[in-house]
C-alpha cells in the first residue's frame, strides 16, 4: 500500500495518514460502542388481559416480543421460559428479591422488562405498557393506549401497535421530514373514529385525516369532503378509509392516494335523502361474502369530486354507474353519462369511459368492454330497486394489512443523513449505497438528482487549476 514517487523517496503523507486513519477509526468505534453498549437484553415479563385465557396471553406476549425485536437496540428473549414464577413478582411493591435472583440466575442479564396490563374501557380496550429497567437507575417508561375490542382477533397487530406507542413514548421523537400533510375535512366527520391500525386515536368529531391512519365514518347525515393538495375526496357515511403511510408508498411502489373504500353499506340512503338527490347507490353482499362496494353516482357529483376505489380514481358526471370492487379489481359499469378513470398504479393518463361500456382495472391498465343492452337494462333495474343491506364485515376484517404498519421499516440511519454524508464522501470517489429500500418514487425524500458535474468539492476531482 505504499506509494513511491518516481524519484524514489517515501511519502511522509502515508505515514502520517496511517496514524490519522487509525486514530479516527478507533475513536469512532469506541464512541459507538460506548454509546450503544451493545443491545439491551429485553423480555416481556407479564401480560394481563381480562377475559382471555393463558393461550391468548402467551400469543400476545410472543407478538409483543416480535414487535420489540424490530428495534435493533433491543435483544428480546422469551423470559417466561427462563424466569418462571419469579417474573410476576418483579412488579410487586418490593421487587428487589426477585430482581436480584433474576439477575444472578438467568444466563443473559435482563436489563429491560416489559409489562402489559389491559382492561376494558367502555366498548374498547385500554392497555398500558410499562418498560422497567432492572440494572440501571433509569425511570420506567409507561404508556397507555385505547384499542379496538376487535383487536383480540389480531394479537400480532395489537402487539405491534402497543410496542409502537411505547417506543414513541420512550424516544419522544417527533416525526419530521417531507411527510404528506393531513387531509382537511371541510365539514367535520361526526360521528367518526380515527384509527391507526387497531389503536383508537380519536373518537367523535374528526376534522383532520393524517397519513397513516384509518378513518371510520359513522352514521353521518351527509358525505364530507376531504381536501388534499390536488384532489378532493368524498367520504361517505359508514365508510372506512385508509390514508396510507409514506412508507407504504415506497413498499407498494404506488403513489399518493391509494385509498381503500371497502364498505359503503348504508351510505346510499343518506346520499339520496340529503346530499345528492340524483344519486343512487347501493351496497350489496356478494354471493361469496367477500368485500364489495356497489354504487351509482349521479349528476350531483361535482367535477372536482373524485370517487376512489383501491384501484382507480373516478371523476366526471355519471348518470347511471355501478361500481364494484372485488378481489382487487374495480369494475365500472356505465350506463349513462361519462367519466374519466385514472388507474392508480399505472403510468397511463386518465381514460375516458363512454357510456354503455364496462371498465375493469386492478390499478394498472383499464380494460374496456362493451356493455350489452340486456346487461345495461339489468344494471339500470338493479340501480332502480336498490336496497342497502349491511356489508356484514367486522372492522377487524377490514383492518389494514401488515404493509400498513409503520414499524415494518428498516431501522437504518435516516435517508437524508445517508444522502448528506454520501455526498460529502463522493469527494473521495465513493458512491455508497443507502441502506433501506429505494425511494425511487417516494414522497418522503428527494429523488437522486445529479446536481451537476462540479458539485464535488475536491478540486482535484474537478479543479480549475491544478499542479505545480
Amino acid at each position: 500500500m505504499s506509494q513511491n514517487s518516481p524519484d524514489g523517496d517515501r511519502s511522509p503523507f502515508l505515514f502520517s495518514s496511517y496514524r490519522v486513519l487509525i486514530a479516527c477509526f478507533l475513536f469512532l468505534i469506541s464512541t459507538g460502542i460506548r454509546i450503544t453498549s451493545a443491545k439491551i437484553p429485553t423480555a416481556v415479563w407479564h401480560v394481563e388481559f381480562p377475559g382471555q385465557d393463558t393461550l391468548f396471553r402467551e400469543g400476545l406476549a410472543q407478538a409483543l416480543s416480535q414487535a420489540l425485536a424490530e428495534d435493533t437496540t433491543l435483544k428480546v428473549y422469551d423470559a417466561r421460559r427462563l424466569g418462571g414464577g419469579l417474573l410476576d413478582s418483579l412488579f410487586d411493591q418490593n421487587p428487589e428479591p426477585a430482581r436480584s435472583k433474576l439477575a444472578s440466575s438467568l444466563p443473559p442479564k435482563m436489563e429491560l422488562a416489559i409489562r402489559v396490563d389491559c382492561r376494558t374501557a367502555e366498548a374498547n380496550i385500554a392497555c398500558g405498557v410499562e418498560g422497567r429497567y432492572l440494572l440501571q437507575d433509569i425511570p420506567s417508561v409507561r404508556d397507555t393506549g385505547i384499542y379496538l375490542a376487535d383487536a383480540v382477533v389480531k394479537p400480532h397487530l395489537l402487539g405491534a401497535c402497543m410496542v409502537r406507542r411505547w417506543r414513541e413514548a420512550r424516544d419522544g421523537v417527533k416525526r419530521t421530514g417531507l411527510m404528506p400533510g393531513p387531509l382537511v375535512l371541510k365539514t367535520p366527520a361526526m360521528p367518526g373514529r380515527l384509527l391507526r391500525d387497531v389503536e383508537i386515536l380519536r373518537e367523535g368529531e374528526i376534522k383532520a385525516f393524517p397519513p397513516g391512519t384509518t378513518l371510520e365514518t359513522g352514521d353521518m347525515p351527509y358525505p364530507v369532503v376531504a381536501s388534499g393538495s390536488r384532489l378532493e375526496y368524498v367520504l361517505y357515511p359508514n365508510g372506512i378509509y385508509t390514508y396510507p403511510l409514506a412508507e407504504v408508498m415506497q413498499l407498494e411502489k404506488g403513489s399518493l392516494g391509494v385509498w381503500q373504500l371497502r364498505d359503503t353499506s348504508s351510505l346510499i340512503s343518506k346520499l339520496q335523502r340529503v346530499a345528492l338527490p340524483d344519486t343512487s347507490t347501493k351496497s350489496t353482499k356478494m354471493a361469496d361474502g367477500k368485500e364489495s362496494a356497489v354504487g351509482a353516482l349521479g349528476p350531483g357529483l361535482q367535477d372536482s369530486s373524485v370517487l376512489l376505489t383501491p384501484a382507480c380514481a373516478i371523476r366526471g358526471r355519471p348518470e347511471a354507474l355501478r361500481v364494484s370492487h372485488m378481489r382487487g379489481e374495480t369494475r365500472l359499469e356505465l350506463v349513462q353519462g361519462g367519466i374519466s378513470v385514472l388507474p392508480l398504479l399505472s403510468s397511463q393518463p386518465a381514460v375516458l369511459l363512454p357510456e354503455l361500456n364496462v371498465g375493469k382495472t386492478h390499478g394498472y391498465e383499464l380494460e374496456i368492454e362493451k356493455l350489452g343492452e340486456a346487461k345495461a337494462e339489468a344494471v339500470s333495474r338493479d340501480l332502480a330497486k336498490w336496497v342497502g343491506p349491511k356489508g356484514g364485515l367486522s372492522l377487524s376484517q377490514l383492518l389494514p394489512g401488515i404493509l400498513f404498519s409503520s414499524q415494518n421499516t428498516l431501522p437504518a440511519l435516516r435517508p437524508e443523513v445517508q444522502d448528506f454524508i454520501g455526498g460529502e464522501l463522493s469527494n473521495l470517489g465513493m458512491r455508497p449505497a443507502k441502506l433501506g429500500l429505494d425511494d425511487w418514487n417516494a414522497a418522503g425524500s428527494l429523488p437522486p438528482l445529479t446536481p451537476g458535474k462540479n458539485e464535488a468539492g475536491c478540486y482535484l476531482c474537478r479543479p480549475n487549476h491544478v499542479g505545480p
Partner: protein, 383 residues
C-alpha cells in the same frame, strides 16, 4: 502491511462483543452496490486538444450496519480515462475506499470518517501535460472528471434538527492534505480543503422543497519541496430543489449556481503556457434540471427522465459553454428489495457556434440484505 494487520485485528476484537448479536437470530443489514458504465465523447469541443475521449469505470461497494448507529462502507473502483489529447489512457485499477459513520447523539449529531486510496495508478507522461491540465483545469465534457484521486482522508460532522415543519442539516467536512506522484517528474502535494454545507428541507403545499448552500475553502498546494505553489479560490454553490407528486407520478426540479473567485497564481508551472489573463479563469456555472418519475408498471419497472441545461462561463476569455444533458433511467425492483438500474445519458454542447456531443450508459445493481423481513416481522423468531 504488518501494521495494518495489527490494527485490523485490534478493530475486529473491539467489534466482537456486539458482533455476537447475530447469534440470537438477528442478522446484520447490508447492501452491496455494483456499477458498470462508460461514456464516449463522440465529438470533442472545438477547443479540446484531441478529437475525442472516453471514460469507463467499474465500481463496487458494500455498506454494512453492524449496530443501529454505525455504518461501514468499503469499496473499490476501476477507472480508465482517455481525455481528449491523451496519448495513452490513464488508469486507476484498484482505487480503495472505506468509511465509517456514527450516530453520536440519536437523531441529532452524526460523525463520519472516510479514506480513498488509489493503488497501482498508471503515470501520466510529460507529453500529456497540456491535455492533462486542460482536462482538469478547463472545461471538460466527460461526466466524471475525477481521474485524479490522490490518497486522501476526510472527516466530518453533521447536525440534524427539526424546525417544524422544516428539517435542517448542517455539516462540515475536512479533507487532509495529500500527495500525488503519478505525474512523471512533477510530484506535488494537493492542499487541504474545508467544506461547509447547510441544507434545509421543508414541505410546502404537498411537495418537498430543499435549499442547499455549500462553501469550500482550500489551503495551499505545495511543491515537492513544500513550497507554496498555488491556492484555489473559495468556491460557493447554491441549489434549490423541489419535488412533488403529480397525477402522473413524481416530478422534481433543481436550479443551481456555482461561483468561484480568482485563484492565486502559482509559482511553478507545468510545461504549458502560463495564464495570460489577469481575470478570473475559473468557470462559473448555472444549471437547471427537471426530472419526471413515472409510476411503476405491472412489472415493477420505474422510469425516470431528466434533462439538465447548463451554462458555463469563464471570465478570463469570455468563453461560454452551453450544454444539454438528457438522461433516461429504468429502474426495476427485483425480488421486492433488490434494485437494478439502467442509465442512458446523452450530451449535446455548443461553444462559439460549434457543437460537441457524447453518450454513455451505465448499469447499477443493488443487492440489499435488510436484516429483517419487512413483510412478516423479524427474519427469525426470537429464542
Amino acid at each position: 502491511m504488518k501494521q495494518v494487520a495489527i490494527y485490523a485485528a485490534l478493530i475486529m476484537s473491539a467489534l466482537s462483543p456486539a458482533g455476537a448479536e447475530g447469534e440470537d437470530g438477528y442478522s446484520i443489514p447490508w447492501v452491496a452496490r455494483l456499477e458498470y458504465g462508460g461514456f464516449d465523447l463522440l465529438q470533442a469541443p472545438p477547443d479540446a486538444p484531441g478529437e475525442d475521449g472516453y471514460q469507463w469505470q467499474l465500481r463496487h461497494g458494500v455498506t454494512i450496519q453492524p449496530w443501529r448507529i454505525i455504518l461501514f462502507h468499503a469499496g473499490w473502483d476501476y477507472r480508465e480515462t482517455l481525455a481528449p489529447g491523451f496519448t495513452r489512457p490513464y488508469r486507476e485499477p484498484f482505487n480503495l475506499q472505506a468509511s465509517a459513520t456514527v450516530e453520536v447523539l440519536p437523531d441529532f449529531v452524526y460523525a463520519w470518517f472516510g479514506m480513498g486510496w488509489p493503488m497501482r495508478q498508471s503515470t501520466i507522461p510529460p507529453s500529456d501535460s497540456s491535455a492533462w491540465d486542460g482536462f482538469l483545469s478547463e472545461h471538460s465534457t466527460l461526466p466524471d472528471a475525477g481521474i485524479l484521486n490522490p490518497a486522501s482522508i476526510q472527516g466530518g460532522g453533521l447536525v440534524r434538527f427539526g424546525l417544524d415543519p422544516a428539517l435542517v442539516l448542517a455539516g462540515m467536512s475536512y479533507q487532509l492534505p495529500s500527495d500525488y506522484a503519478q505525474f512523471e517528474g512533477r510530484r506535488f502535494r494537493p492542499p487541504w480543503l474545508l467544506r461547509m454545507k447547510l441544507e434545509i428541507q421543508w414541505p410546502w403545499s404537498g411537495s418537498g422543497q430543499s435549499v442547499e448552500g455549500i462553501a469550500t475553502l482550500y489551503g495551499y498546494e505545495l511543491t515537492r519541496e513544500k513550497h507554496e505553489a498555488h491556492r484555489e479560490a473559495p468556491w460557493l454553490q447554491f441549489r434549490y430543489s423541489a419535488t412533488g407528486l403529480g397525477e402522473g407520478g413524481l416530478w422534481a426540479a433543481t436550479i443551481g449556481i456555482s461561483g468561484k473567485w480568482k485563484d492565486e497564481n502559482r509559482e511553478v508551472l507545468l510545461d504549458i503556457p502560463p495564464p495570460t489573463s489577469e481575470d478570473n479563469g475559473n468557470l462559473q456555472r448555472f444549471y437547471f434540471e427537471a426530472a419526471r418519475f413515472l409510476k411503476s408498471s405491472p412489472w415493477s419497472i420505474h422510469f425516470a427522465v431528466a434533462n439538465r441545461i447548463e451554462a458555463q462561463w469563464r471570465p478570463s476569455d469570455g468563453r461560454v459553454y452551453l450544454e444539454n444533458t438528457l438522461s433516461f433511467r429504468n429502474l426495476w425492483r427485483v425480488f421486492q428489495t433488490h434494485g437494478l438500474e439502467l442509465h442512458w445519458r446523452g450530451l449535446i454542447g455548443e461553444t462559439e457556434g460549434r457543437p460537441y456531443f457524447g453518450a454513455g450508459v451505465s448499469g447499477v445493481f443493488t443487492f440489499r440484505h435488510l436484516g429483517q423481513n419487512m413483510f412478516s416481522g423479524p427474519s427469525e423468531s426470537q429464542p
